[in-house]
Structure formats: structure tokens, C-alpha cells
């Protein structure tokens, strides 16, 4: 069971502003998600190696060769408030 407090805490960590109704809905929904995941705990995993990935792959690496970067204008083109070649954002402290 997930508490309303936990939903507010996670929302705050994610900088999400939720209305009271949204908090109520999410509290219920997140609880049922967690209950569902809890079902996995019923499986006996005695002696089973932890799975870190579902694909039968390992060592997908690249050589240390530079590739072209984006033009700065392109990189900044989707930014709401570019300034002096930088992404300008509201101060992370101001809204905390």
C-alpha cells in the first residue's frame, strides 16, 4: 500500500506539481502497480543469479573515435531560452 505522503515526496523529487485529485488518483494507481509487481515475490528464486538484462547480450561497446557533434545553433534550436550559446534555465534554487 502506498501512502499519499510518498506520492507527494516522489512528485517533489521529480519536480511535478500535482493537483489534489491527481494525487488521489496516483496514490491508487501506484498502489496497484506495486501490488502487481509484488506478485513476483511469490516466485522461488533460491539459487538464481540476479538478472541484469533480459537480452542475451554483453559488451556492446564502441571504439573511442570522435563523431561529429551538433552545430550549436541546432543544439539550441529547441531550447526555450538560449543565451550566449548556453541553455538558460530558471535557477534550480528559486523554485525549490
Amino acid at each position: 500500500m502506498i501512502e499519499r505522503e510518498q506520492v507527494l515526496h516522489v512528485a517533489r523529487l521529480s519536480r511535478l506539481r500535482l493537483s489534489d485529485e491527481e494525487v488521489d488518483t496516483l496514490t491508487g494507481e501506484l498502489s496497484s502497480v506495486l501490488d502487481h509487481v509484488d506478485k513476483l515475490a511469490e516466485v522461488d528464486i533460491e539459487g538464481v543469479e540476479p538478472t541484469s538484462h533480459v537480452l542475451p547480450l554483453e559488451n556492446v561497446l564502441r571504439t573511442d573515435e570522435p563523431r561529429p557533434s551538433l552545430e550549436r545553433e541546432v543544439a539550441l534550436s529547441q531550447a526555450p531560452d538560449p543565451h550566449d550559446g548556453a541553455f538558460r534555465v530558471p535557477s534550480p534554487q528559486a523554485e525549490a
Binding site: N59, L61, E65, G85, V89
Partner: protein, 478 residues
């Protein structure tokens, strides 16, 4: 009742790897370029992109692990560390939380808990409000640094003072520099050090509540910051209070500590396995190469120098910088029968001081080669010139690059080897200075200094001190 408290300190050290490209994309690494000229959809976290780890970064990381005496993991995996901040466009950092690439090592007297690979954050510049973090109204983000490969080294809480942290940090820096896998430049941020600090009653095994001292750009500042924080914690406890867990910043210009983040939000990173990356499983050859490619590291070199008689302090100085070590070994090679302890003292003492004094010249630009210094050291050892003359010859060698023999000949510094001549000068000095001579005869041996000085003056320093002493004592009837 008074309880003695001791400091307990553990370190988290971030090392930027000097690969050509970033950890998970092909953008070039740079320092000091215009903002945001090294970015791509991966390091800007545009939707739908996938990270691919840099093979070289993995190799460098394994070399660091091997140099720190760690067990290299047969399988290591990546995790997401979630936090919301503009320096981090994915809202998570890719790191290794559960299965890092190296565990259980040791460097010197400090145990290494583990070392893991991760990506660096972007650089945020806080504008307005004077540039300090608090009170600013906007931030500008430069993603050139975002995604730079980092190795984070986490120690056990084995350190006990700021001075010990400085010394050990310097050993760590020298060790990694020698591997050639990082610039380890603290001012440029390629080596960064955070310290976890707590205090506890001496003899206790428990750990007190710790505070974290963040990101200082020199080991001197770290030493001072730690000393300030340890003092503060001891005072809090002495006054009956409790240390609160918090993150601190030390301002070296004022010596003050400031609290950085509110504690309720700290350390809630909601780690989860990174589904975009598959495990790294180094082949036995890769692991073997990481271990066998290690050069002789500073700690081992210092031990080897001490074994051939070099004093502990000089051995450390020579071991920390490869070029000094190579220079020293060049002196030993060029000078047959040279005493390593004496050679080490000349290199780390007289030569280093003279280079510093003359334009703070780096060793690489020294006009005095190892062979010339070896010749000079041997001239002193064979008493052709006095130790004092040796220093002035070195001064000339450092400034002009002249050979020691020609400086000695030019300045007429050759030691007086004719003992008859020296004896005449000694007798003259005793006659000219009846007062100290009488004092020595009547038991005040210290007064002999005045007579030695008189002889040295008469010979312009070209006499061997030991011989002068012997002749003076003989003629004074001691």
C-alpha cells in the same frame, strides 16, 4: 569527565578519464571551448537515443582498479541514479551502483571500498545574485562536459586527519597520473574530492553522524576544510549537541563552512538497473592486460628507493613525479659508485631549490643534466671541492649550463689538498684569534666555530670542514 574524540574520514574521488570522446557518445572531450559545441542527441538526452559505452573508458577504469589493488569484477553493470537538476538532461545519471567494475582494493594505508564508472554532469553557471548558488535567479547550462567518463573511487573510512587526507590524496593523484589515464588536474576539475567526516570517542568502533564536504579544488583546501569541520563537530558534541547530516562547502578565503542542500531531499536517488545498457564482461585477456600494463607505481618506487638507502622523504618526492624519478636514476647511472642517499638529497634538495630560486624552472627545462650533476656530486664526495663550494657551482650550472669542472677551475674552488698549506692557515688562524683559541683550550668547545670560520674565510671556502676541524683540534691540544 572528558572524552577524547577522533576524526573518521572517508573519501569519494572523481577522476575524469582522458579518453578522446565521452562515455556514451562520440562527442569529443574538451576543456575551455565555447559552450555547447560538443553535444549530440545522446548527451543532450533527446528522445529515442541509446547510450553506447566507450571501450577505452572501460579499459582505463580497469587499469585504475588494478593500480588500486582491487578485485576486477568479471561482470559489471550500469544503473540509473535519478535526480532532477539542469546539469543532467536525462534526469538520471548513468552510474554503477550494484556491480561496479572494481572492489576491495588498497592504496597505502587506505582500503578502497570500490571504484565505478559513470558520466559527468554538465556545467551550470548561476547568473545573477553575484554568481553564488543561493540568491541567483537563472542558470546557464553548458553541456560540453556532460557525459565525460568518470571513475569514482570510494574509500573505506580509514583516514584520521586532514593532513593524512592531503598526503594520501597526493599519492592517489601521482598513482593515477602515472597510468596516463587522466590529467588529474584539480583546478580544472579532472580530479575532484569529497570527504565524509564524522567524529567518535577514541577506541570506539561505531561511526558518528557524518557530514559531506564537497568539491574542493586543492588538497591544501581539503586539509583545511576537514580540520575546520572536525573542530566544529567536536565543539557541537562538547556543547551537548548532535551533529546533523548535511552537505557542506568550505570557503578557503574565509575559512568558513556553509551548508549546501537541505537534508530531507538528500540521498533519495531511486536507483534502478539501466535497461539501455547490457553488462560489461571483460575478457580474461582484457583483465590480464589491465594488470600487466601497469607501470611501476609511486608506492612501489618509493619502497625500492628506500631499499637502496634513500631517506623516506626524498624517496616519496622522487616517486611522485616520473620525470624526477627518471632524473634521479640518470644520476645514479652516470655516477659510478655514487651513494643513492647522497644523490637523492642533491636532486630533491639542492637542485630542486636552485631551480625554484632561478625563475621557478621546471625540471624538464633544467640546463643541468643528470650526468653533470653526478660529476658534481662525485667531486664533493671525493673532497675535490667542499660541500659549500658544490652549492655555488650548482648555482652557476643551473644558470649557465656550464660543466662542473670548468666552473670549479674558473672560480678557483678546488679544495686545498696540500695539507701542509692548510696546516699553515690553521696555525695562523689560531694566532690571529687568541680569544676563542683560549676559550677552546679551557673547555668551551663551541668556541671552535669562530676558528673554523676564520680558516674558511682565509681559504674562501676551499677547505674541507672535517679536515679543518681535525687540524684545529690537534693544534689546540684537544
Amino acid at each position: 569527565m572528558s572524552t577524547e574524540y577522533e576524526a573518521v574520514i572517508g573519501l569519494e574521488i572523481h577522476v575524469q578519464l582522458s579518453t578522446r570522446t565521452k562515455m556514451f557518445c562520440g562527442c569529443e572531450l574538451s576543456f575551455g571551448d565555447e559552450p555547447n559545441v560538443h553535444t549530440c542527441p545522446v548527451c543532450l538526452a533527446l528522445p529515442g537515443v541509446l547510450p553506447v559505452p566507450n571501450e577505452k573508458a572501460v579499459q582505463y577504469a580497469l587499469q585504475i582498479g588494478a593500480a588500486l589493488g582491487c578485485e576486477l569484477s568479471p561482470v559489471s553493470t550500469f544503473d540509473r541514479k535519478n535526480y532532477f537538476y539542469p546539469d543532467n538532461p536525462k534526469a538520471y545519471q548513468i552510474t554503477q551502483a550494484t556491480y561496479p567494475f572494481a572492489v576491495n582494493g588498497r592504496l597505502g594505508e587506505v582500503r578502497i571500498h570500490h571504484a565505478h564508472l559513470e558520466e559527468d554532469a554538465a556545467k551550470t553557471i548561476h547568473t545573477g545574485g553575484g554568481g553564488r548558488i543561493s540568491g541567483s535567479d537563472a542558470s546557464e547550462v553548458d553541456f560540453n562536459r556532460g557525459g565525460t567518463p568518470l571513475v569514482e573511487i570510494v574509500t573505506e573510512p580509514d583516514l584520521r586527519s586532514g593532513a593524512q587526507v592531503r598526503e594520501w590524496g597526493q599519492l592517489l593523484r601521482a598513482t593515477i597520473r602515472q597510468l596516463g589515464v587522466s590529467d588529474v588536474n584539480m583546478e580544472e576539475g579532472s580530479l575532484r574530492c569529497d570527504a565524509n567526516i564524522s567524529v567518535r570517542p577514541v577506541g570506539s568502533d561505531e561511526l558518528g553522524t557524518k557530514t559531506e564536504l564537497k568539491n574542493m579544488n586543492s588538497f591544501r583546501f581539503i586539509e583545511r576544510g576537514i580540520e575546520a569541520e572536525v573542530t566544529r563537530q567536536k565543539e557541537v558534541i562538547a556543547a551537548g549537541g548532535e551533529v546533523e547530516q548535511e552537505t557542506l562547502h568550505f570557503d578557503p578565503s574565509t575559512g568558513e563552512l556553509h551548508s549546501l542542500r537541505s537534508k530531507e531531499e538528500a540521498h533519495d536517488y531511486r536507483y534502478l538497473p539501466e535497461p539501455d545498457l547490457v553488462p560489461v564482461v571483460p575478457s580474461p585477456e582484457t583483465l590480464e592486460m589491465a594488470k600487466s600494463s601497469l607501470p611501476e607505481l609511486p608506492a612501489a618506487r618509493a619502497r625500492r628507493y628506500e631499499e637502496i638507502g634513500v631517506s623516506g622523504q626524498a624517496a616519496l618526492l622522487l616517486s611522485f613525479e616520473v620525470e624526477w624519478a627518471e632524473y634521479f636514476e640518470g644520476v645514479l647511472e652516470a655516477g659510478t659508485g655514487i651513494d643513492p642517499r647522497v644523490a637523492a638529497n642533491w636532486v630533491t634538495g639542492e637542485l630542486a631549490a636552485e631551480l625554484r630560486r632561478q625563475d621557478d624552472r621546471p625540471l624538464a627545462e633544467s640546463k643541468v643534466g643528470p650526468a653533470a650533476l653526478a660529476t658534481l656530486i662525485n667531486m664533493v664526495a671525493e673532497k675535490k671541492i667542499s660541500h659549500g663550494s658544490g652549492k655555488s657551482v650548482l648555482e652557476e650550472m643551473v644558470s649557465s649550463g656550464a660543466e662542473p669542472e670548468s666552473v670549479v677551475a674558473e672560480q678557483g674552488l678546488e679544495q686545498i689538498s696540500d695539507s701542509g698549506e692548510l696546516e699553515r692557515i690553521v696555525i695562523q688562524a689560531i694566532e690571529d684569534n687568541p680569544k676563542p683559541a683560549e676559550q677552546v683550550r679551557s673547555g668551551n668547545e663551541k668556541a671552535i666555530g669562530a676558528l673554523v670560520g676564520a680558516v674558511m674565510k682565509a681559504t674562501q671556502g676551499r677547505a674541507d670542514g672535517g679536515e679543518v676541524n681535525r687540524l684545529l683540534r690537534q693544534h689546540l691540544g684537544l
